[in-house]
């Protein structure tokens, strides 16, 4: 949503906290655990973008996570359509969320959050630092990591970050591609501003770019 207008001020009362309600962090945990246990399908990040734009903008951050977590579970067949609705009705009727303890599993999932797969070293790369590149004009139908506000804009490659799976296919199932930090001048992105000029740097996949 880079460059969109009309959102008002950034800081609002309470906006300094990481969550406003306890359920939000539980949804964060559920989403994380669905990933760790592999019981959901697809990418939560990509699925959240399937929300209708007006709903997406209206929803709170963890509302979207709740929405995407349910969909990942449904698509994998881990839950079926009525499962959550049925439990909503049971909770309304006064039933409590069931509890179950498994301390060994609780230790394992915390350890799992320490795992990380860094970008891999680049074996072959089309562009090199200081190359001028233009972001291809594009209108991808699904998930992408190429924001609209830089499409068609020319910038300078600063750094080759490494190789990572191309996110637009799959999503996150594409072949490995080089990722570059590309610097753009604000004049080229947004035109002249009363704020003067600044630099915007994005990490962009090789197929988003062409020589300029």
């Amino acid at each position: 949503m880079g460059g969109m207008h009309g959102f008002g001020g950034v800081l609002t009362p309470g906006s300094d906290r990481v969550a406003e309600h306890p359920w939000e962090l539980r949804v964060f945990a559920l989403s994380t655990l669905v990933g760790i246990h592999g019981i959901g399908a697809g990418s939560g990040r990509a699925i959240r973008e399937e929300m209708a734009p007006a709903d997406y903008l209206a929803a709170g951050y963890y509302d979207r996570w709740l929405w995407s977590t349910e969909r990942r579970l449904l698509r994998r067949g881990t839950i079926v359509d009525d499962d959550v609705d049925n439990w909503v009705a049971r909770l309304r009727a006064g039933e409590r969320v069931p509890g179950r303890e498994d301390p060994e599993a609780a230790r394992r999932v915390v350890d799992a959050t320490l795992e990380a797969s860094p970008l891999r070293p680049a074996e072959s790369a089309r562009f090199a630092p200081s190359d001028r590149v233009r972001v291809r004009p594009m209108r991808p139908a699904g998930h992408t990591r190429c924001p609209r506000y830089v499409r068609g804009v020319t910038g300078i490659v600063e750094t080759l970050r490494g190789m990572d799976v191309f996110p637009d296919i799959g999503p996150y199932g594409g072949p490995d591609e080089a990722v570059y930090a590309v610097a753009f001048d604000s004049d080229d992105v947004f035109g002249p501003s009363t704020e003067g000029r600044w630099t915007i740097v994005l990490d962009l996949f090789e197929s988003y770019l062409e020589p300029a």
Partner: protein, 201 residues
């Protein structure tokens, strides 16, 4: 905080979140303590106190600062931090001439191992839309007025690379130890929407 145009009232969302938890626990797919453990981990263990240790070390130890510049992921791992949303880290050093500020316009990517989970404003459409297009005006809302000649660099976290801003070391901190220095390093100073505190401030 009141949020307009909610998907549903918060009690409805709380109910749905609880229902989802109930479904997964009842099916035997999750245990309650796994959920508690993840919440506790991200609420208590991970937070700006971790990033502050990285920054303070970089301020007092030039060899560490060099390692942080060369390979931030490895330098941060030396202090025991890493994992989800921190697999590939890059440190951005603020100087009198360059001020770095970090955003994720596409979602809300944030370096969890060093900063914890992001504050609500970082995830807000207002921040995501505006900081790339009018950074000085946004920084002013945070109380920062940068000199006109300072070049702002806005970093949009569009790949799996995550950024940690290393704020400038405040004046008057020459004799301070690493731990006391870490106390001056705020969360916002490591996003770039703040400066490190001055001693006694």
């Amino acid at each position: 905080m009141t949020r307009d145009h909610r998907h549903g009232p918060d009690d409805e969302l709380a109910l749905r979140a609880a229902a989802l938890e109930a479904v997964l626990v009842e099916k035997g797919l999750l245990s309650t303590d796994q959920i508690d453990a993840i919440v506790e981990r991200y609420e208590r263990d991970l937070g700006p106190q971790n990033g502050a240790r990285v920054v303070a070390r970089a301020w007092v130890d030039p060899a560490y600062r060099d390692r942080l510049r060369a390979d931030a992921t490895a330098a941060i791992a030396e202090l025991g931090f890493g994992g989800f949303e921190g697999a590939t880290m890059v440190a951005l050093e603020n100087t009198p001439d360059v001020h770095n500020v970090v955003v994720c316009t596409l979602c809300s990517c944030y370096p969890w191992p060093v900063l914890g989970l992001p504050p609500t404003w970082y995830k807000s459409p207002a921040y995501r839309a505006r900081v790339v297009a009018e950074p000085r005006s946004v920084l002013r809302e945070f109380g920062i007025e940068l000199p006109a000649e300072a070049r702002i660099r806005v970093w949009d976290s569009t790949s799996e690379v995550r950024y940690l801003v290393v704020p400038q070391r405040p004046a008057g901190t020459e004799g301070m130890g690493e731990e006391a220095l870490a106390g001056l390093v705020t969360r916002d100073s490591m996003i770039g929407t703040g400066l490190a505190r001055s001693p006694g401030a």
